[in-house]
């Protein structure tokens, strides 16, 4: 066997795995999406049909809000944790990573325990204001669940990025007369931009597609994964479910690609 054909034969397992687990199911999904009564128009329906479109916008907004709030909270917390030494710091960091171990179902369960009908927040608010505050079964509960899910991942990424920051940059900015806010705005945040994009992308993709939490909280939350589930299992509408799946994947991928290309220029500018 020649050197060349040996190398090619080594690629065979990769080709087989790619075909079996990636290409074939994808093609099948795309084809199924077009096999309904509307044909390929089913894909257009995602954007045209008001219910689908509202759900799509809802999902993107929810994911964007989750990403935004996660980044803000995690940046402040990560910065503090990386820059300060205090008793119990190691334990706190270890505990922060604990939510990583939970599946979405458990996170959903915890949100119900917190903000559900028998939840802690409801108890407190009924005692203080005489009115029970319950939001676990709505998109707000889902938002809280996704935050809980995303913040630990993002904090860890931000902490690693903060550790690599050249403190000389901040000192240089200060020596030039920049106050604390100006230092953050002009030096620290631009330097952290690549970390924001990398960890934000993970938070965003998770919030777009996570199913377990949504399913645990309620079956009537208008987010894409739930819509796919109901179309598929309850309405047995395979074509629409497939079209929605492809749409979900494409939109998430597109937004991440945009963020990456944007950050690509930011990273280049950041040296």
């Amino acid at each position: 066997m020649s050197q060349k054909s040996f190398v090619w034969s080594c690629l065979l397992p990769l080709v087989m795995v790619t075909a079996a687990f990636f290409l074939l199911p994808m093609v099948r999904l795309v084809v199924t999406g077009a096999e309904g009564p509307q044909g390929f128009a089913a894909y257009l329906a995602i954007l045209i049909e008001p219910r689908y479109r509202a759900t799509l916008i809802n999902t993107v907004l929810l994911a964007a809000a989750t990403t935004g709030v996660t980044l803000i909270v995690a940046t402040i917390a990560g910065m503090f944790l990386q820059r300060h030494r205090f008793p119990g710091r190691a334990v706190l960091i270890a505990m922060l990573t604990f939510p990583l171990a939970f599946p979405g179902v458990v996170v959903g369960f915890m949100i119900i325990l917190l903000a559900g009908r028998q939840g802690l927040i409801g108890d407190l608010s009924s005692r203080v204001f005489g009115e029970k505050l319950v939001f676990a079964y709505s998109i707000y509960g889902l938002f809280l669940g996704y935050l809980y899910f995303s913040i630990p991942r993002v904090i860890l990424t931000i902490m690693a990025a903060v550790q690599k920051l050249d403190t000389g940059l901040e000192e240089a900015a200060r020596s030039l007369g920049a106050g604390p806010w100006a230092v953050q705005r002009d030096v620290v945040l631009p330097a952290l931009a690549p970390a924001f994009v990398a960890s934000g992308a993970i938070a965003f993709a998770t919030a777009m597609g996570a199913f377990g939490t949504a399913f645990t909280l309620a079956t009537n939350i208008d987010v894409l994964p739930m819509l796919i589930y109901t179309e598929f299992t309850l309405a047995a509408n395979f074509a629409t479910a497939a079209a929605l799946s492809v749409g979900l994947g494409l939109i998430t991928w597109l937004i991440l690609a945009l963020a990456r290309s944007f950050s690509g220029s930011a990273v280049a500018a950041a040296g």
Binding site: D166, G168, L169, E171, A172, A173, R174, S175, L176, G177, A178, G179, A182, D186, V187, P190, A191, A193, A266, A268, A269, A270, G271
Partner: protein, 353 residues
Amino acid sequence: MSTANGHGASVSVQACGKTFADGTRALESATLDIARGETLVLLGPSGCGKTTMLRIIAGLELPDEGGTVLFDGKDVTSEPIEQRNVGMVFQSYALFPNMSVADNIGYGLKVRGVPRQERAARIAELVALTNIAGLENRRIDQLSGGQRQRVALARAVAIRPRILLLDEPLTALDAALRDRLRGELNRLLRALGITTIYVTHDQAEAMELGDRIVVMRKGTIAQIGTPREIYFTPRNRFVAEFIGAANIIESPVEDGHLVLSGGRQPLRSGINLAVAVAMIRPETIQVVEAGRAPLSGTIDSVSFVGDRQRLVISGTSRKPLTVDAPNAVQVRPGEEVGLLVAPESVRLLPLED
């Protein structure tokens, strides 16, 4: 070019020590006065406290209780660096990677709210001064080490600081570039005439740039003086060995003579000591024919370095002597020679360490 506030401020460091949170004593209580317009070099090996001293003057570190820093007689100890109006050049340059060269240089002016046009004029002035014309729109990662160093300097000077602080600004460069930029930096500092504090571990840099040098060791000041004072009259063995090359000889002194195995070397005064530590610089030893000098020895090795040749001579004292001879002198290893040293070239040092 002159700065708006004349030639910077005078600096007075009074009883400033520094103990870090983990208990490390980086700087013993030290007092230091720097005149307006003077270039002072803090020189010493790593860990000697020179950078800590610089950071205390800059306002990046607070001195231990009781220490004060005065600029032009005014106590600035509690002012953070952003209020002290000092220009600082860092060893890593710390240029902002998200800004162009021009934006880096203009950053301090922008923070101060200087209008765009005025800023542009000042940037152009500094670009010309530091010789980086044509690089204004470059990104930092497109610059060479030498160019970065100039941008860092331009950025620090742009704000017309009262004091210019430089933390090993040439250390990150390769040797040839370092030599060239040292000369350039020297001219620039003289032209600016601003109070400058310069930290380095390189004694050649300290010699060339400093009006005065502060030699530091283990958190204390070993000696303060002009380059000549430091070189010719070191106060102790550490300074003698750290600055330039030095032969350190331990021997008894009889009637004003060092008593060595290779002969008796006369001193300036006729003292008697059981044991003395003497310093003789290699270039002050003259190689003559054997028997025509009070000292004699055998040439161990000859290394020709171009402008001079460095000889190692054994048999004169306990440790081999280093001698710098003119490059035209004909000598061979194994040869017996006489060594002539003027009495004033032998400096007795205190016995400590």
